[in-house]
């Protein structure tokens, strides 16, 4: 009886895994087909690396990969630096300032991009950071503030404050208590956010499209250039997308294990 249930359970998990993986595998298969086979992928069995060769010959693609990796990493590091402290503040302090801050980040998070992405374009141009690393990094970080702060607040809420209190009584500074006691305990959350932030920035399209021009090619925007007035060059776009999967895959593989901790607090 138990074996039957376990088999059924395994089957369900297998099905879910299949559904999750299938579109990605189909994408990889599409990128390996010649241009005549990128739509009717199931017809014919020809596989070729021609699309990848064509994509890699484009010098902007390589530069775009480097830029995207750099921006994703910097955005992750800076976002976490800025938002983990913010979340800690929201969790440990409940006064007026805390409530105001929370209300502010919540309200501004609710405004859809449509109304302010074009003003963002004007603003970055006015401040001279359009089409630069800064110009792309800072808005990304700003957008993460609400969500990361709120989430970190939730995690810090679940961490007992008595350990920090003990540290304070022992003579630790507030900042020291934060860094040495609270942070390590929140490691799974920070790791999860780091993975999500990196992937999100890597795959982010709208801001990259609006805020970059010639000087800062980014992988998602370069991919978008295969879409033009007269159609989509799907064979090249899918090859680029598959190449972009590589670093994302590696990062997820690498970052996952920090989410799973053998020890519990």
């Amino acid at each position: 009886m138990r074996l039957g249930r376990r088999a059924l359970f395994g089957l369900a998990v297998g099905l879910v895994c299949f559904l999750f993986a299938f579109p990605v595998l189909w994408l990889i298969l599409t990128s390996l087909r010649p241009q005549s086979g990128v739509y009717y992928v199931h017809r014919g069995t020809e596989l070729t690396l021609v699309n990848f060769a064509a994509v890699l010959q484009n010098e902007r693609i390589v530069q775009a990969f480097v830029n995207s990796a750099l921006i994703s990493t910097l955005a992750t590091v800076f976002s976490l630096m800025v938002t983990v402290t913010s979340g800690y503040m929201l969790s440990r302090f409940r006064g007026l300032l805390s409530r105001t801050w929370f209300g502010t980040i919540y309200v501004f998070r609710c405004v859809p991009y449509i109304s302010w992405v074009l003003p963002l374009y004007f603003v970055t141009q006015a401040w001279g950071v359009y089409d630069s690393y800064t110009g792309l990094l800072l808005p990304h970080i700003a957008v993460h503030i609400c969500f990361f702060s709120w989430l970190m607040k939730g995690f810090f809420d679940g961490i007992d404050g008595s350990m920090e209190q003990a540290a304070l009584l022992d003579g630790c500074t507030r900042w020291g208590a934060f860094v040495r006691v609270a942070l390590p305990a929140a490691m799974p959350a920070i790791a999860a956010l780091a993975v999500l932030c990196w992937l999100f920035t890597w795959n982010e399209f709208l801001f990259a499209l609006i805020l970059t021009g010639q000087k800062t090619p980014v992988i998602t925007v370069v991919m978008a250039q295969f879409v033009h007035e007269m159609g989509i060059e799907w064979h090249l776009m899918s090859a680029t997308a598959v190449l972009a999967l590589g670093p994302a895959f590696l990062l997820t593989l690498f970052g996952q294990k920090y989410v799973i901790r053998g020890l519990r607090i």
Partner: protein
Amino acid sequence: MAVLSPPPPAVAAVSPYKGARRRRFGEQERFMALLIAPAALLMLLFQVVPILIGANASFRDWALYDPKRTWVGLKHYVEVLGDPLFLTLVLPNTFLFMAVSVGGALCLGLALALLLNRPFRGQKVVQTVLLMPLMVAPVIAAIMLRWMFNDQFGIVNVVLEGLGFEGQPWLAQRWTAFAVIVFTDVWLWTPWFTLLLLAGLQSLPREPFEAASIDGAGRWATFRFVTLPLLRSIIVVCAVIRAIDAFRTFDIVWTLTGGGPGRSTELFSLYAYVFAFLNLDFGKGSAAAMIGAGVILIVGVLLFRVLDRLVEVSR
């Protein structure tokens, strides 16, 4: 049935600063301000200022090709709210989408997080596979799924017809198109829930679970009375954030259906986009976006309250 000991009250936020408050008021406030200073500055420069510019535009006659910028007050707002399609088609569509896709992703994500919480053979592989949708850019995923559901060359219909069923014109009918949109969204966002809820589960204290197993509680009871309350704040935050973002979803819907067929899958953000960027009427598009902001603000708060109470009731 054994009586379950209630989870330890240490879960509630015990701030280490509560007692010390009155003595060191100035220093504490400075610390608080320091903690949020960099975030506040960034928000001001790169979010608040553009949003205020957009809000300003919503009260003006601002077409992108002829920015007269004359003040028109609430004219755009009245037009949008008076548009019957906005109230009877766009908003209901958006709420339905929000409810189904967030609900679906949350439940599935929670189930998968629980699955991955305990080590088993092949866990690493399963975990990596389950996170695969996160690795793909949403627009790419949307294009891929659009062509997978194409009635002629899409693999879905090919398989269906191979099994003897009739292939559907998925994107040419309202509800099948809606289903494809929801499927895409759940596919993209379940791993997000999974990862965060898994982190949450991994951070939970061990004692309540040990106590529950000593008390002889079954798996479902442990879940309902121990796991869920402990995980409450994370679940609610994730659900509300995701609901806000689901309300604003644009790129996957635009790619999959463009709001079609015949506007029947039009969501709120497409409505605003068409005005702002297709018709180049930035003022009106901005007004529509502001109305949406107001709606989602209220809905978010309500959702937070409701979910909070819902998860608490299961105690």
